[in-house]
């Protein structure tokens, strides 16, 4: 193991993980920079069950390019093909062209996306907690996937089905609901393909 970071969950459990894993969280990264190396970083708002799921995600993403940055280049040191050969900063390969032409990177990112999609095929309760944790810990990729997981649960359902799934109360009167539908009557066929 390289350099490790110790994290304490809200319910007092200690997790020791590699820096690269923990630093997926921008918050943990900045906290680790300030404190001295021996201290544990307390995360009072994340309990151990959630933290362990979060760390599972971070472990998978630790040495991969971010899956949702659209136009940023994937640095060549993260490319599976060039793994180990480039010494990072000394690589003179044009990193701006790298992600667009490198098949190995593309495949790696696609595989990671598949893994992520499976990862968020969980109950909404867990997605809710992951969303809050990703927001609190500032983990961009996890936020992105938790959002996608929640959107997947909503897509294609009517309001009543959505209310059941998300345990929400219908606070509209029937008249109010009708009003909302009327709002778009100026579009004759609003969404006809």
């Amino acid at each position: 193991m390289g350099k490790t970071i110790k994290l304490i969950s809200g319910d007092g459990e200690m997790f020791e993980v590699e820096e690269a894993v923990a630093f997926q969280s921008n918050i943990i990264k900045s906290l680790a920079d300030e404190d001295n190396a021996d201290d544990c970083i307390p995360l009072p708002r994340v309990d151990s069950q959630i933290l362990s799921k979060v760390l599972e995600f971070c472990r998978k993403h630790a040495n991969s390019p971010s899956v949702h940055t659209k136009f940023a280049a994937i640095p060549s040191e993260l490319c599976p093909k060039h793994d180990g050969s480039a010494a990072g900063a000394s690589s003179s390969e044009s990193s701006s062209a790298h992600s667009e032409t490198c098949r190995a990177c593309y495949d790696a990112v696609m595989k990671l996306v598949q893994w992520d999609l499976e990862f968020v095929k969980v109950d909404l309760d867990l997605i809710h907690h992951l969303l809050k944790a990703a927001n609190y810990l500032d983990i961009e990729d996890l936020m992105f996937m938790a959002v996608e997981g929640a959107a997947n649960a909503i897509r294609g359902n009517n309001p009543e089905e959505i209310r059941k799934l998300f345990d929400l109360e219908n606070d509209f009167t029937p008249e109010e609901e009708k009003e909302i539908l009327k709002e778009y009557s100026w579009l004759d066929d609003p969404f006809e393909p």
Binding site: D47, Q49, F71, A72, A73, S96, L124, D125, H128, H129, L131, K132, N135, M143, V147, E148, A150, A151, I154, R155, N157, N158, P159, I162, R163, F166, D167, L168, E169, N170, D171, F172, E177, I180, L181, Y184, W186, L187, P190, F191, E192, P193
Partner: protein, 177 residues
């Protein structure tokens, strides 16, 4: 995890997280399904968090021009002008080109060179611009875009191959073939 504390969990999720979730949904769902779920979700759809990225490209290809304008204005209003990305095709009204965003995707739109020259200086936040198949703009417009000092080092400009003649010392231009 306490049952009770989670009871109103989704309703009270911070609005920008909800907005992010909704913005991943098809347009029809955001406009007609989500606002009917409950009042707090309806409020999110009316607010800016849902409309940071306005993507009506597919819908704009089938609708009437006046409907498109009305829709676009509605979304821009809801975003309180804070949208970063706009994707719409076939913009007919020239005044619509006063849109300021970081990413503008306006394929098959009808603005002309004169409008572009006028508006281009305001687009200093651009990192991505798609003006593919905009048949009314030519070399003059491309020069105007080219002379922008973009904020970021990474930007892309998509245009069709008739613009190849433009003196593109800008290696960041990409041309559709």
């Amino acid at each position: 995890m306490a049952e009770g504390s989670d009871a109103r969990a989704w309703e009270e999720l911070i609005p920008d997280a909800l907005g992010l979730i909704f913005s991943n949904l098809p347009l029809q769902e955001i406009l007609i399904v989500i606002p009917r779920v409950c009042k707090s979700w309806s409020r999110v759809v009316l607010g800016p968090y849902c409309w940071q990225e306005i993507d009506i490209d597919e819908w704009s290809q089938h609708c009437k021009p006046e409907q498109l304008n009305k829709m676009l204005h509605m979304f821009i209003d809801r975003s309180c002008g804070s949208f970063r990305r706009l994707s719409v095709s076939g913009l007919h009204t020239e005044s619509m080109f006063t849109l300021i965003a970081a990413q503008l995707e306006l394929p098959r739109s009808e603005m002309n060179d004169a409008i572009v020259k006028l508006v281009a200086p305001r687009l200093c936040n651009l990192t991505y611009l798609d003006v593919s198949y905009c048949s009314k703009i030519g070399a003059c417009a491309m020069e105007a875009f080219g002379s922008l000092s973009f904020r970021s080092d990474h930007y892309a400009l998509i245009a069709s191959d008739s613009f190849v003649k433009v003196k593109a010392s800008h290696s960041r231009f990409r041309f559709l073939l």
